[in-house]
Protein backbone atom coordinates (compact mmCIF):
# COMPACT_ATOMS: atom_id res chain seq x y z
CA UNK A 1 0.00 0.00 0.00
CA UNK A 2 1.41 3.38 -0.97
CA UNK A 3 1.24 5.86 1.91
CA UNK A 4 -0.81 9.01 1.14
CA UNK A 5 1.76 11.25 2.81
CA UNK A 6 5.41 12.03 2.43
CA UNK A 7 6.73 9.11 4.45
CA UNK A 8 10.36 9.98 3.94
CA UNK A 9 9.85 13.50 5.24
CA UNK A 10 7.99 12.19 8.27
CA UNK A 11 10.80 9.75 9.03
CA UNK A 12 13.43 12.45 8.66
CA UNK A 13 11.50 14.80 10.93
CA UNK A 14 10.99 12.08 13.49
CA UNK A 15 14.69 11.35 13.38
CA UNK A 16 15.34 15.07 13.90
CA UNK A 17 13.21 15.07 17.05
CA UNK A 18 9.69 16.02 15.93
CA UNK A 19 7.73 13.35 17.79
CA UNK A 20 4.48 14.45 16.20
CA UNK A 21 5.84 13.11 12.93
CA UNK A 22 5.00 9.69 14.35
CA UNK A 23 1.31 10.32 13.74
CA UNK A 24 1.20 9.68 9.97
CA UNK A 25 3.44 6.66 10.38
CA UNK A 26 1.14 5.23 13.05
CA UNK A 27 -1.98 5.92 11.05
CA UNK A 28 -0.55 4.41 7.89
CA UNK A 29 1.09 1.30 9.27
CA UNK A 30 -0.84 0.50 12.44
CA UNK A 31 -3.31 -1.98 10.98
CA UNK A 32 -0.67 -4.10 9.30
CA UNK A 33 1.56 -3.84 12.36
CA UNK A 34 -1.16 -5.04 14.73
CA UNK A 35 -2.17 -7.83 12.37
CA UNK A 36 1.42 -9.00 11.95
CA UNK A 37 1.90 -8.99 15.70
CA UNK A 38 -1.44 -10.73 16.19
CA UNK A 39 -0.46 -13.66 14.00
CA UNK A 40 2.72 -14.07 16.04
CA UNK A 41 1.48 -13.45 19.59
CA UNK A 42 -2.07 -14.69 18.90
CA UNK A 43 -3.68 -12.20 21.25
CA UNK A 44 -5.34 -9.00 20.04
CA UNK A 45 -4.63 -6.89 23.13
CA UNK A 46 -1.02 -8.02 23.30
CA UNK A 47 -0.68 -7.39 19.55
CA UNK A 48 -1.78 -3.78 20.04
CA UNK A 49 0.72 -3.37 22.88
CA UNK A 50 3.44 -4.81 20.69
CA UNK A 51 2.61 -2.50 17.78
CA UNK A 52 2.47 0.47 20.14
CA UNK A 53 5.88 -0.45 21.59
CA UNK A 54 7.28 -0.74 18.08
CA UNK A 55 6.02 2.73 17.15
CA UNK A 56 7.30 4.24 20.39
CA UNK A 57 10.71 2.70 19.83
CA UNK A 58 11.01 4.30 16.39
CA UNK A 59 12.64 7.59 17.43
CA UNK A 60 15.54 5.69 18.97
CA UNK A 61 15.77 3.00 16.32
CA UNK A 62 15.67 5.20 13.25
CA UNK A 63 19.39 5.75 13.59
CA UNK A 64 19.75 2.26 12.19
CA UNK A 65 17.31 2.86 9.34
CA UNK A 66 18.80 3.01 5.88
CA UNK A 67 16.93 5.73 4.00
CA UNK A 68 17.74 4.00 0.73
CA UNK A 69 15.47 1.11 1.69
CA UNK A 70 11.70 1.05 2.04
CA UNK A 71 10.29 1.67 5.51
CA UNK A 72 7.49 -0.92 5.58
CA UNK A 73 9.54 -4.16 5.61
CA UNK A 74 12.03 -2.63 8.03
CA UNK A 75 9.24 -1.65 10.39
CA UNK A 76 7.37 -4.97 10.15
CA UNK A 77 10.57 -6.77 11.07
CA UNK A 78 10.80 -4.47 14.07
CA UNK A 79 7.21 -5.41 14.98
CA UNK A 80 8.10 -9.10 14.71
CA UNK A 81 11.09 -8.63 17.00
CA UNK A 82 8.92 -6.80 19.54
CA UNK A 83 6.38 -9.62 19.28
CA UNK A 84 9.03 -12.23 19.98
CA UNK A 85 10.31 -10.22 22.93
CA UNK A 86 6.79 -9.90 24.29
CA UNK A 87 6.24 -13.64 23.96
CA UNK A 88 9.53 -14.32 25.65
CA UNK A 89 8.54 -12.14 28.56
CA UNK A 90 5.06 -13.39 29.03
CA UNK A 91 5.61 -17.09 28.38
CA UNK A 92 1.91 -17.17 28.13
CA UNK A 93 0.11 -20.15 26.73
CA UNK A 94 -2.40 -18.78 24.33
CA UNK A 95 -5.40 -20.98 23.76
CA UNK A 96 -7.76 -21.28 20.86
CA UNK A 97 -10.50 -19.67 22.94
CA UNK A 98 -10.67 -16.65 20.70
CA UNK A 99 -10.92 -18.66 17.53
CA UNK A 100 -14.69 -19.09 17.49
CA UNK A 101 -15.09 -15.34 17.39
CA UNK A 102 -12.48 -15.09 14.67
CA UNK A 103 -14.22 -17.63 12.50
CA UNK A 104 -17.61 -16.12 13.10
CA UNK A 105 -16.37 -12.73 12.01
CA UNK A 106 -15.06 -13.94 8.69
CA UNK A 107 -16.96 -13.37 5.46
CA UNK A 108 -19.00 -16.17 4.07
CA UNK A 109 -17.36 -17.35 0.84
CA UNK A 110 -18.78 -19.98 -1.42
CA UNK A 111 -16.81 -22.76 0.18
CA UNK A 112 -17.17 -21.33 3.65
CA UNK A 113 -16.91 -24.64 5.43
CA UNK A 114 -13.70 -25.60 3.66
CA UNK A 115 -12.11 -22.23 4.22
CA UNK A 116 -13.17 -22.17 7.86
CA UNK A 117 -11.60 -25.57 8.31
CA UNK A 118 -8.43 -24.38 6.62
CA UNK A 119 -8.24 -21.30 8.80
CA UNK A 120 -8.81 -23.30 11.96
CA UNK A 121 -6.09 -25.75 10.95
CA UNK A 122 -3.70 -22.97 9.98
CA UNK A 123 -4.35 -21.20 13.27
CA UNK A 124 -3.73 -24.41 15.18
CA UNK A 125 -0.67 -25.25 13.11
CA UNK A 126 0.83 -21.82 13.71
CA UNK A 127 0.54 -22.39 17.43
CA UNK A 128 2.61 -25.55 17.13
CA UNK A 129 5.48 -23.63 15.57
CA UNK A 130 8.13 -22.10 17.79
CA UNK A 131 7.73 -18.31 18.11
CA UNK A 132 10.82 -17.75 15.94
CA UNK A 133 9.54 -19.98 13.15
CA UNK A 134 6.09 -18.46 13.46
CA UNK A 135 7.53 -14.97 13.13
CA UNK A 136 9.49 -16.01 10.05
CA UNK A 137 6.39 -17.60 8.49
CA UNK A 138 4.20 -14.55 9.23
CA UNK A 139 6.77 -12.15 7.79
CA UNK A 140 7.22 -14.34 4.72
CA UNK A 141 3.68 -15.40 3.94
CA UNK A 142 1.53 -12.67 5.53
CA UNK A 143 3.70 -9.56 5.24
CA UNK A 144 5.31 -10.79 2.02
CA UNK A 145 8.93 -10.07 2.97
CA UNK A 146 11.78 -11.84 1.22
CA UNK A 147 14.04 -14.20 3.13
CA UNK A 148 16.86 -11.65 2.97
CA UNK A 149 14.60 -8.93 4.36
CA UNK A 150 13.55 -11.18 7.24
CA UNK A 151 17.13 -12.07 8.06
CA UNK A 152 18.20 -8.43 8.14
CA UNK A 153 15.95 -7.43 10.98
CA UNK A 154 15.63 -10.64 12.95
CA UNK A 155 19.42 -10.40 13.15
CA UNK A 156 19.91 -13.91 12.00
CA UNK A 157 22.09 -15.14 9.15
CA UNK A 158 20.23 -15.66 5.90
CA UNK A 159 21.00 -19.36 6.08
CA UNK A 160 19.35 -19.60 9.49
CA UNK A 161 16.22 -17.88 8.25
CA UNK A 162 16.13 -20.13 5.19
CA UNK A 163 16.48 -23.16 7.42
CA UNK A 164 13.78 -21.86 9.80
CA UNK A 165 11.41 -21.30 6.93
CA UNK A 166 12.24 -24.67 5.44
CA UNK A 167 11.67 -26.38 8.78
CA UNK A 168 8.49 -24.39 9.34
CA UNK A 169 7.21 -25.33 5.90
CA UNK A 170 7.92 -29.00 6.57
CA UNK A 171 6.21 -28.80 9.90
CA UNK A 172 3.24 -26.95 8.40
CA UNK A 173 3.00 -29.46 5.57
CA UNK A 174 2.78 -32.24 8.09
CA UNK A 175 0.33 -30.39 10.31
CA UNK A 176 -1.85 -29.35 7.41
CA UNK A 177 -1.67 -32.60 5.50
CA UNK A 178 -5.30 -33.45 6.08
CA UNK A 179 -6.48 -30.01 5.11
CA UNK A 180 -4.47 -29.97 1.89
CA UNK A 181 -5.86 -33.37 0.99
CA UNK A 182 -9.38 -32.19 1.69
CA UNK A 183 -8.95 -28.91 -0.11
CA UNK A 184 -7.41 -30.60 -3.14
CA UNK A 185 -10.58 -32.60 -3.54
CA UNK A 186 -12.58 -29.39 -3.53
CA UNK A 187 -10.23 -27.24 -5.53
CA UNK A 188 -9.74 -27.57 -9.26
CA UNK A 189 -6.54 -29.42 -10.06
CA UNK A 190 -3.69 -27.34 -11.41
CA UNK A 191 -1.92 -29.51 -13.94
CA UNK A 192 1.83 -29.20 -13.72
CA UNK A 193 1.71 -26.35 -11.25
CA UNK A 194 3.31 -28.34 -8.46
CA UNK A 195 6.29 -29.77 -10.33
CA UNK A 196 9.04 -27.70 -8.71
CA UNK A 197 8.11 -28.05 -5.08
CA UNK A 198 6.68 -31.44 -4.24
CA UNK A 199 4.92 -31.67 -0.89
Amino acid sequence: MEPDFDERTAIQRLKAGDLMALEPLVRTHQLEAIRTAYLIVRDRALAEDVAQAAFLSLPGRLKAFNFELPFRPWFLRLVAREALKALGRRRRELSLDGLDGVLAALPDPEDAAARAELRAEVWAALERLSPERRAAVVLRYYAGLSEAEIAARLRRPLGTVKWQLHAARRQLRRLLEGVWAGSSQRQPQIVGGDAHDPP
Binding site: F5, S57, Q187
Partner: protein, 342 residues
Protein backbone atom coordinates in the same frame (compact mmCIF):
# COMPACT_ATOMS: atom_id res chain seq x y z
CA UNK B 1 4.58 -25.82 -0.35
CA UNK B 2 3.18 -25.82 -3.84
CA UNK B 3 2.09 -22.56 -5.38
CA UNK B 4 -1.54 -23.43 -4.83
CA UNK B 5 -1.03 -24.45 -1.24
CA UNK B 6 1.10 -21.42 -0.61
CA UNK B 7 -1.68 -19.24 -2.04
CA UNK B 8 -4.25 -20.94 0.19
CA UNK B 9 -1.96 -20.56 3.17
CA UNK B 10 -1.40 -16.86 2.49
CA UNK B 11 -5.13 -16.33 2.11
CA UNK B 12 -5.82 -18.15 5.36
CA UNK B 13 -3.27 -15.99 7.19
CA UNK B 14 -4.77 -12.82 5.73
CA UNK B 15 -8.29 -13.86 6.68
CA UNK B 16 -7.21 -14.77 10.20
CA UNK B 17 -5.43 -11.43 10.60
CA UNK B 18 -8.39 -9.47 9.21
CA UNK B 19 -10.86 -11.30 11.43
CA UNK B 20 -8.71 -11.02 14.54
CA UNK B 21 -7.91 -7.34 13.99
CA UNK B 22 -10.73 -5.64 12.09
CA UNK B 23 -10.26 -2.27 10.43
CA UNK B 24 -10.75 0.59 12.86
CA UNK B 25 -8.00 0.11 15.42
CA UNK B 26 -6.45 3.46 16.24
CA UNK B 27 -3.24 3.39 18.21
CA UNK B 28 -2.43 7.06 17.78
CA UNK B 29 -4.27 8.38 20.88
CA UNK B 30 -2.42 5.81 23.02
CA UNK B 31 0.91 6.54 21.38
CA UNK B 32 0.33 10.26 21.76
CA UNK B 33 -0.50 9.87 25.44
CA UNK B 34 2.65 7.85 25.94
CA UNK B 35 4.71 10.48 24.14
CA UNK B 36 3.34 13.18 26.42
CA UNK B 37 3.51 11.27 29.68
CA UNK B 38 6.49 9.00 29.18
CA UNK B 39 6.38 5.20 29.14
CA UNK B 40 3.19 3.41 30.18
CA UNK B 41 2.37 3.13 33.84
CA UNK B 42 0.22 0.06 33.41
CA UNK B 43 -0.71 -2.39 30.76
CA UNK B 44 -0.49 -5.96 29.73
CA UNK B 45 2.92 -5.45 28.21
CA UNK B 46 5.79 -3.46 29.61
CA UNK B 47 9.07 -3.00 27.89
CA UNK B 48 12.22 -3.98 29.75
CA UNK B 49 13.31 -1.52 32.42
CA UNK B 50 16.42 -0.68 30.47
CA UNK B 51 14.25 0.42 27.59
CA UNK B 52 12.02 2.32 29.96
CA UNK B 53 14.89 4.34 31.38
CA UNK B 54 16.54 4.88 28.01
CA UNK B 55 13.20 5.55 26.37
CA UNK B 56 12.16 8.05 29.00
CA UNK B 57 15.38 9.95 28.49
CA UNK B 58 14.88 9.90 24.76
CA UNK B 59 11.29 11.06 25.05
CA UNK B 60 12.19 13.97 27.29
CA UNK B 61 15.10 15.04 25.15
CA UNK B 62 13.22 14.70 21.89
CA UNK B 63 10.15 16.43 23.27
CA UNK B 64 12.31 19.30 24.46
CA UNK B 65 13.93 19.53 21.06
CA UNK B 66 10.58 19.46 19.34
CA UNK B 67 8.94 22.07 21.53
CA UNK B 68 11.89 24.39 22.13
CA UNK B 69 11.53 25.90 18.69
CA UNK B 70 7.74 25.82 18.88
CA UNK B 71 6.05 23.62 16.32
CA UNK B 72 4.64 25.66 13.49
CA UNK B 73 1.03 24.54 13.89
CA UNK B 74 0.94 25.08 17.66
CA UNK B 75 2.15 28.63 17.18
CA UNK B 76 -0.02 29.59 14.23
CA UNK B 77 -3.18 28.12 15.72
CA UNK B 78 -2.86 30.58 18.59
CA UNK B 79 -4.03 33.26 16.19
CA UNK B 80 -7.70 32.49 16.92
CA UNK B 81 -9.19 31.10 20.16
CA UNK B 82 -11.13 28.32 18.45
CA UNK B 83 -8.10 27.18 16.47
CA UNK B 84 -6.02 27.34 19.61
CA UNK B 85 -8.40 24.99 21.42
CA UNK B 86 -8.35 22.64 18.46
CA UNK B 87 -4.55 22.60 18.60
CA UNK B 88 -4.38 22.18 22.37
CA UNK B 89 -6.85 19.29 22.27
CA UNK B 90 -4.61 17.48 19.79
CA UNK B 91 -7.39 17.35 17.21
CA UNK B 92 -5.26 18.26 14.21
CA UNK B 93 -3.69 15.58 12.07
CA UNK B 94 -0.04 15.72 11.03
CA UNK B 95 0.90 15.07 7.40
CA UNK B 96 4.33 16.51 6.60
CA UNK B 97 3.49 16.34 2.89
CA UNK B 98 6.14 18.35 1.10
CA UNK B 99 6.48 19.44 -2.49
CA UNK B 100 9.28 21.36 -4.14
CA UNK B 101 9.50 23.04 -7.49
CA UNK B 102 12.02 25.49 -8.93
CA UNK B 103 13.48 26.21 -5.53
CA UNK B 104 10.13 26.73 -3.83
CA UNK B 105 8.77 24.31 -1.27
CA UNK B 106 5.33 24.00 0.28
CA UNK B 107 4.63 21.56 3.07
CA UNK B 108 1.21 20.61 4.34
CA UNK B 109 1.91 20.36 8.04
CA UNK B 110 -1.44 19.72 9.65
CA UNK B 111 -5.12 19.74 8.89
CA UNK B 112 -8.31 19.66 10.85
CA UNK B 113 -12.00 19.49 9.98
CA UNK B 114 -15.25 19.88 11.82
CA UNK B 115 -18.72 20.79 10.51
CA UNK B 116 -17.86 24.51 10.78
CA UNK B 117 -14.32 24.87 9.51
CA UNK B 118 -11.54 23.05 7.76
CA UNK B 119 -8.09 24.26 8.74
CA UNK B 120 -4.83 23.63 6.92
CA UNK B 121 -1.45 24.62 8.29
CA UNK B 122 1.25 25.17 5.68
CA UNK B 123 4.94 25.91 5.69
CA UNK B 124 6.42 27.64 2.66
CA UNK B 125 9.98 28.41 1.76
CA UNK B 126 11.83 29.74 -1.22
CA UNK B 127 15.08 31.14 -2.55
CA UNK B 128 16.72 33.88 -0.56
CA UNK B 129 15.62 37.45 -1.05
CA UNK B 130 12.02 37.07 -2.10
CA UNK B 131 10.58 38.72 0.98
CA UNK B 132 7.06 38.16 2.25
CA UNK B 133 5.37 35.22 0.68
CA UNK B 134 1.66 34.95 0.40
CA UNK B 135 -0.14 31.69 -0.18
CA UNK B 136 -3.29 31.29 -2.19
CA UNK B 137 -5.10 28.11 -1.23
CA UNK B 138 -8.07 26.43 -2.80
CA UNK B 139 -9.67 23.41 -1.18
CA UNK B 140 -11.88 20.88 -2.89
CA UNK B 141 -13.78 17.78 -1.85
CA UNK B 142 -12.83 14.51 -3.53
CA UNK B 143 -15.59 15.05 -6.11
CA UNK B 144 -14.30 18.53 -6.92
CA UNK B 145 -16.66 20.79 -4.97
CA UNK B 146 -14.83 23.89 -3.73
CA UNK B 147 -14.93 24.93 -0.07
CA UNK B 148 -15.20 28.67 0.34
CA UNK B 149 -12.21 30.35 1.98
CA UNK B 150 -13.02 32.08 5.27
CA UNK B 151 -9.88 33.23 6.99
CA UNK B 152 -6.16 33.19 6.42
CA UNK B 153 -3.27 34.03 8.69
CA UNK B 154 0.45 33.85 8.31
CA UNK B 155 3.66 34.45 10.17
CA UNK B 156 7.33 34.83 9.48
CA UNK B 157 10.38 35.65 11.51
CA UNK B 158 10.40 35.16 15.26
CA UNK B 159 7.57 35.50 17.74
CA UNK B 160 7.83 34.99 21.49
CA UNK B 161 4.06 34.88 21.89
CA UNK B 162 3.51 32.30 19.19
CA UNK B 163 6.74 30.53 20.14
CA UNK B 164 7.74 30.50 16.51
CA UNK B 165 11.08 30.98 14.91
CA UNK B 166 11.19 30.88 11.14
CA UNK B 167 14.24 31.47 9.00
CA UNK B 168 14.32 34.28 6.46
CA UNK B 169 12.42 33.29 3.32
CA UNK B 170 10.27 30.87 5.30
CA UNK B 171 6.70 31.48 6.34
CA UNK B 172 3.88 29.65 8.08
CA UNK B 173 0.22 29.92 7.14
CA UNK B 174 -3.18 28.84 8.41
CA UNK B 175 -6.02 28.75 5.92
CA UNK B 176 -9.60 28.26 7.09
CA UNK B 177 -12.34 27.06 4.78
CA UNK B 178 -16.07 26.82 5.26
CA UNK B 179 -16.92 23.44 6.79
CA UNK B 180 -20.61 23.79 5.94
CA UNK B 181 -19.58 23.27 2.33
CA UNK B 182 -18.31 19.81 3.29
CA UNK B 183 -21.84 18.53 3.76
CA UNK B 184 -20.48 15.96 6.19
CA UNK B 185 -20.80 15.96 9.98
CA UNK B 186 -18.58 13.01 10.91
CA UNK B 187 -16.33 10.30 9.50
CA UNK B 188 -13.32 10.87 7.29
CA UNK B 189 -13.22 13.15 4.29
CA UNK B 190 -10.75 13.23 1.42
CA UNK B 191 -9.74 16.73 0.38
CA UNK B 192 -7.60 18.21 -2.36
CA UNK B 193 -5.66 21.37 -1.72
CA UNK B 194 -4.12 23.60 -4.35
CA UNK B 195 -1.52 26.11 -3.18
CA UNK B 196 0.03 28.94 -5.15
CA UNK B 197 2.84 31.07 -3.81
CA UNK B 198 2.58 34.75 -4.59
CA UNK B 199 3.99 38.08 -3.59
CA UNK B 200 2.44 41.54 -3.59
CA UNK B 201 4.57 44.07 -5.45
CA UNK B 202 4.14 47.78 -6.07
CA UNK B 203 2.94 48.56 -9.55
CA UNK B 204 3.68 52.00 -10.83
CA UNK B 205 3.38 55.19 -8.81
CA UNK B 206 0.47 56.34 -6.63
CA UNK B 207 -1.76 58.90 -8.30
CA UNK B 208 -3.22 61.86 -6.47
CA UNK B 209 -1.69 60.95 -3.14
CA UNK B 210 -3.58 57.62 -3.01
CA UNK B 211 -2.14 54.29 -1.95
CA UNK B 212 0.52 52.69 -4.06
CA UNK B 213 -1.15 50.30 -6.52
CA UNK B 214 -0.09 46.75 -5.89
CA UNK B 215 -0.19 43.70 -8.06
CA UNK B 216 0.12 40.09 -7.15
CA UNK B 217 3.04 38.34 -8.69
CA UNK B 218 2.64 34.61 -8.80
CA UNK B 219 5.87 32.87 -7.89
CA UNK B 220 5.18 29.16 -8.02
CA UNK B 221 2.41 26.64 -8.13
CA UNK B 222 0.00 25.15 -8.05
CA UNK B 223 1.22 22.60 -5.54
CA UNK B 224 -1.42 19.90 -5.13
CA UNK B 225 -2.01 17.89 -1.98
CA UNK B 226 -4.53 15.16 -1.42
CA UNK B 227 -5.20 14.07 2.13
CA UNK B 228 -7.74 12.37 4.34
CA UNK B 229 -8.90 14.06 7.53
CA UNK B 230 -11.44 13.03 10.17
CA UNK B 231 -14.39 15.36 10.75
CA UNK B 232 -14.67 16.14 14.47
CA UNK B 233 -18.32 16.19 15.55
CA UNK B 234 -20.20 19.36 16.42
CA UNK B 235 -21.07 20.07 20.05
CA UNK B 236 -24.50 21.52 19.35
CA UNK B 237 -26.70 22.49 16.47
CA UNK B 238 -29.79 24.70 16.49
CA UNK B 239 -32.13 25.07 13.53
CA UNK B 240 -35.13 27.15 12.61
CA UNK B 241 -35.72 29.58 15.49
CA UNK B 242 -37.75 32.69 14.77
CA UNK B 243 -38.12 36.08 16.36
CA UNK B 244 -40.12 39.15 15.37
CA UNK B 245 -39.72 42.84 16.08
CA UNK B 246 -42.32 45.35 14.97
CA UNK B 247 -43.92 42.81 12.67
CA UNK B 248 -40.62 42.01 10.95
CA UNK B 249 -39.37 38.48 11.31
CA UNK B 250 -35.88 37.15 11.61
CA UNK B 251 -35.06 33.48 11.39
CA UNK B 252 -31.99 31.84 12.86
CA UNK B 253 -31.73 29.21 10.16
CA UNK B 254 -28.86 27.29 11.61
CA UNK B 255 -26.29 27.61 14.36
CA UNK B 256 -23.49 25.10 14.87
CA UNK B 257 -21.08 25.07 17.79
CA UNK B 258 -18.02 22.97 16.97
CA UNK B 259 -14.47 22.75 18.34
CA UNK B 260 -13.23 25.40 15.88
CA UNK B 261 -15.92 27.88 16.94
CA UNK B 262 -19.38 29.06 16.12
CA UNK B 263 -21.13 29.49 12.83
CA UNK B 264 -24.62 30.72 12.18
CA UNK B 265 -26.88 31.73 9.34
CA UNK B 266 -29.78 34.11 9.82
CA UNK B 267 -32.31 35.69 7.45
CA UNK B 268 -34.21 38.91 7.97
CA UNK B 269 -37.42 40.29 6.56
CA UNK B 270 -37.45 43.77 5.12
CA UNK B 271 -33.99 44.93 5.98
CA UNK B 272 -33.96 48.68 5.41
CA UNK B 273 -31.09 50.23 3.55
CA UNK B 274 -28.43 51.43 5.86
CA UNK B 275 -27.72 55.12 5.80
CA UNK B 276 -25.68 55.98 2.73
CA UNK B 277 -25.37 52.42 1.51
CA UNK B 278 -26.65 51.29 -1.86
CA UNK B 279 -27.66 47.88 -0.51
CA UNK B 280 -28.94 46.52 2.79
CA UNK B 281 -26.31 46.71 5.50
CA UNK B 282 -25.48 43.73 7.63
CA UNK B 283 -27.28 43.46 10.96
CA UNK B 284 -24.99 43.86 13.93
CA UNK B 285 -24.56 40.68 15.91
CA UNK B 286 -24.19 40.94 19.69
CA UNK B 287 -23.74 38.09 22.15
CA UNK B 288 -24.88 38.39 25.75
CA UNK B 289 -22.72 37.55 27.62
CA UNK B 290 -20.05 38.60 25.16
CA UNK B 291 -17.89 36.08 23.39
CA UNK B 292 -14.14 35.99 23.89
CA UNK B 293 -12.41 38.21 21.37
CA UNK B 294 -12.15 36.46 18.03
CA UNK B 295 -12.10 37.42 14.38
CA UNK B 296 -15.54 37.43 12.78
CA UNK B 297 -16.24 36.68 9.14
CA UNK B 298 -19.63 37.73 7.75
CA UNK B 299 -20.81 37.06 4.25
CA UNK B 300 -24.07 37.45 2.37
CA UNK B 301 -25.67 34.06 2.02
CA UNK B 302 -28.77 34.43 -0.13
CA UNK B 303 -31.31 37.28 -0.27
CA UNK B 304 -31.52 39.01 3.13
CA UNK B 305 -29.49 36.21 4.69
CA UNK B 306 -26.01 36.31 6.22
CA UNK B 307 -23.56 33.82 7.53
CA UNK B 308 -21.29 34.53 10.48
CA UNK B 309 -18.21 32.49 11.26
CA UNK B 310 -16.57 33.09 14.63
CA UNK B 311 -13.63 30.88 15.66
CA UNK B 312 -14.23 31.65 19.31
CA UNK B 313 -13.58 28.28 20.91
CA UNK B 314 -16.11 26.08 22.63
CA UNK B 315 -14.81 26.81 26.11
CA UNK B 316 -16.10 30.34 25.71
CA UNK B 317 -19.44 29.34 24.24
CA UNK B 318 -21.12 27.02 26.69
CA UNK B 319 -24.08 27.94 28.82
CA UNK B 320 -27.02 30.26 28.32
CA UNK B 321 -26.48 32.94 25.74
CA UNK B 322 -28.62 35.47 24.02
CA UNK B 323 -27.97 36.42 20.43
CA UNK B 324 -29.18 39.83 19.34
CA UNK B 325 -29.27 41.18 15.82
CA UNK B 326 -29.56 44.94 15.55
CA UNK B 327 -31.01 46.08 12.25
CA UNK B 328 -29.11 48.58 10.13
CA UNK B 329 -32.00 51.06 10.31
CA UNK B 330 -30.99 52.02 13.81
CA UNK B 331 -34.04 50.55 15.57
CA UNK B 332 -33.35 50.15 19.26
CA UNK B 333 -35.03 46.79 19.65
CA UNK B 334 -33.06 43.84 18.30
CA UNK B 335 -34.18 40.45 17.13
CA UNK B 336 -33.37 38.22 20.07
CA UNK B 337 -32.72 34.49 20.29
CA UNK B 338 -32.12 32.65 23.56
CA UNK B 339 -29.86 29.63 23.39
CA UNK B 340 -28.48 27.10 25.82
CA UNK B 341 -25.22 25.70 24.49
CA UNK B 342 -23.74 22.59 26.12
Amino acid sequence: MTHRKEKLFREALTELAEAGVPVGADLWPRVQTRLKSGPAKAGAYRPRWVWVVAGLGAVILLATAAYAGGPLADGLLKLAPGWSQVGQAGLTRYYGLGQSRDGWTVRLERAYADPNQVLVVLWAGGPAGFGVLDVRGELFTADGRPLRPELGAGARGRSEILRLELKPDESGHVLAFDGWDLGQASGDVVLKLSVRLARLEPEGFPGGGGPTPMRERELAGPFWFEFRVPVAPARAEVRGKEAAVGGRKARLERLVAAPSGLKLRACFEGLADGPGTPRPAIPRLVFDPELPAAPVVVRADGPDCYRWSIPAGLAGLSGRRTIKFFGPDGAAEPWTFDLNLP
